[in-house]
Symmetry: C2
Subunit: 108 residues, 2 copies
DNA sequence: CCGATACATTGATGAGCGTCGATGAGAGCA
DNA sequence: TGCTCTCATCGACGCTCATCAATGTATCGG
């Protein structure tokens, strides 16, 4: 859960050409979202506000290792955060991270 | 240039869980952007407003077939449009497409 | 026509990724 | 201490994708 230092760049890509470095950083963030399973995972977590990992396998229809893999990718991208409670891991969204993406994509 | 029927879904993924079908559609759109070269390509086109294809190879530092490949991917995603003028192909951004993405990502 | 230029397509190659079974690491309970 | 449950990691498989050389297609100038 290395929170990804991630100041991210960012002038919107509609205003000026991205540098190669910025483009790589933004691309990796977008890549974390460019997967149907991870999009549904994030939407479930964001809609609920807080979700136990044990309640993800079912809705996603994926194996436990696969779900664990996707949560890891989203967490490393800074889009969700984890908190351990006993045997369970609870996941919460990081709205600022999505807002940052919208800004890069030309948000005002 | 099959303009991608693409009404796209879209309730923001922060409000309700995405369906599998919607997630796949959004993921493919995000996938078109989740590449450093395509991000820079789009940023160049968006910043200029209109760019000749012959002026892309240089700034991107990629071979002609590679650039052609990326423009095709972005065009099929509906993010840019092409117009032929003599021997040249001019590329223009499709801002509504980016706006749609921002909306799915939780834009107001 | 003929050569040159801009772009698209093809085919091949190498890297990366999604998936899952098997296994490991921790936490709780009896 | 054992057993169970949740989650993370590992290893392997199959598929997709980015890249480029070679080739094809279309346009313009002479």
């Amino acid at each position: 859960m290395p929170a990804r230092t991630a100041t991210l760049c960012c002038t919107p890509l509609t205003e000026a050409a991205l540098s190669a470095a910025d483009a790589t950083e933004v691309a990796s963030l977008l890549g974390a979202l460019a997967d149907p399973v991870r999009l549904r995972l994030l939407s479930i977590v964001a809609a609920q506000g807080e979700v136990c990992g044990c309640n993800l396998e079912g809705p996603l229809g994926k194996s436990q290792p696969t779900v664990s893999h996707h949560t890891k990718v989203l967490a490393e991208a800074g889009l969700i955060t984890s908190e351990r409670r006993g045997r369970w891991v609870w996941w919460r969204p990081v709205p600022e991270r999505l807002a940052l993406l919208r800004q890069v994509l030309g948000g005002q």
